[in-house]
Symmetry: none
Subunit: 144 residues, 4 copies
């Protein structure tokens, strides 16, 4: 119990150092990214409990709803799981979710690179968007 308390206290303290309210980056995003890094580094592992919304809010001197928003997005990304009454834990598939997010970030960089090259070659934004929309429409067809 003491050990766990120490670990959680350490996490709270570390999180406090990750948040800069004047950086211009929305705070809920900073919280989300800090927790993502904690899972990446293994500080938080699948099954580990996260601080409660209120505990983290009071530690970081933020409104609870700001933490709630960060937690909600992490949940949507499959990194954590929240249940009323039971608290919030790192999800069993957190590693896979991270791997997916990282591969997506890599793909997004490739996407941006190609878009820049298309625009540089004179293609209009409208044409590019039309091509993207066409691929999306094709997906719908596959899914039927």
């Amino acid at each position: 119990m003491l050990q766990e308390n120490n670990g959680e206290a350490g996490l709270l303290h570390w999180l406090g150092g990750q948040i800069d309210p004047h950086s211009g980056v929305p705070i809920y995003l900073q919280v989300r990214q800090a927790l993502t890094r904690a899972v990446q580094r293994g500080t938080l592992r699948p099954g580990d409990g996260l601080p409660t919304v209120r505990a983290l809010a009071s530690e970081l001197r933020l409104a609870p709803s700001t933490i709630t928003r960060a937690y909600a997005e992490l949940q949507r990304g499959g990194l954590i799981e929240s249940r009323a009454g039971a608290g919030t834990t790192v999800s069993p598939q957190a590693k896979q979710s991270l791997a997916r997010a990282e591969s997506q970030e890599g793909l997004l960089e490739e996407l941006r690179d190609i878009l820049h090259r298309l625009f540089a070659s004179g293609m209009s934004p409208a044409d590019v968007q039309a091509n993207v929309a066409q691929v999306i429409q094709g997906l719908g067809r596959e899914a039927r």
Copy 2:
């Protein structure tokens, strides 16, 4: 102009054989692609005159607006030029325009491949479109 009449009659006949109204491919696209192929093969060369919109429409038994659309897109792509009174001609930079179009087609294939991989990794179409829009906005900012 008169000496081109024979060639033009041959072109009209050849174009007629390139259009299949039942193929499902939009007819303006077929016209555009057929004329592009004619330039690729050297049947049409920089400076050559194209049939007027009305002549081509009546020959292919299509609505003039269909031809207008095909010509407009080819003009936008830099393959042909229209000037009031002077008719439509293959533009002097047609070869470079073709090369650019081909490189664009290659880039578009890369684009489609990346999009498919992004969707396969679970990214939502709305998120992808948001990323594309973001790059476009960024371009606007650079241009300012």
Copy 3:
């Protein structure tokens, strides 16, 4: 101008009838669903402007943040587009987004049916979830 005003006034009035704060369904969800229905029925069409967050909030006697949340989710689903200063409009690809959402709903029903049959045949929830996780892992591999 008057016609547009009428249309928007009509939409506001209709939306008011779609929200029941005592139904147990979160209000932001009710707003989201009502607007989705409006697009489904063609009351709202691509390019149409939606009421401003504040106008809709005051009409429905809700806090602005409740509307903001509904708009944010609709935006995430690709149905609408919001830009600070420019207001919120139905997105050009709204129809495709709807089609995708509908086909997803159909697939989710199939999914629930199969899950029930698997459980009825004696498979444990843990085994089912393991199978789902395995498919997801496979996706990551494809995306690389």
Copy 4:
């Protein structure tokens, strides 16, 4: 029991040929599948005795825990029965258990198909897992 010894020796030898430690398939799974096939083909019939964990482990040169895990899963599937002192036998309902396992495999294929279609239509893995979890929770409620 003695009269089964010949048969059992044959079984042990046949099992040895079914296991390939370099195939990448977990060995406990290979053992489980090999024994399942033996029941499918009638080599093992309801009431027949299986080798003891230690006998099979030493014959196949595997760790006893590997065999234990294979036996445990077969038991969970209703294919075999273990009783302290009496050893392990093919259960009387083995045939029905097999039929159920086969129908489960069919359902799992349907499950995988639907999951792929959901991901292809842009649904995120986290959303899919949330839906699965929701069905499981619903089952719990029904059972109460």
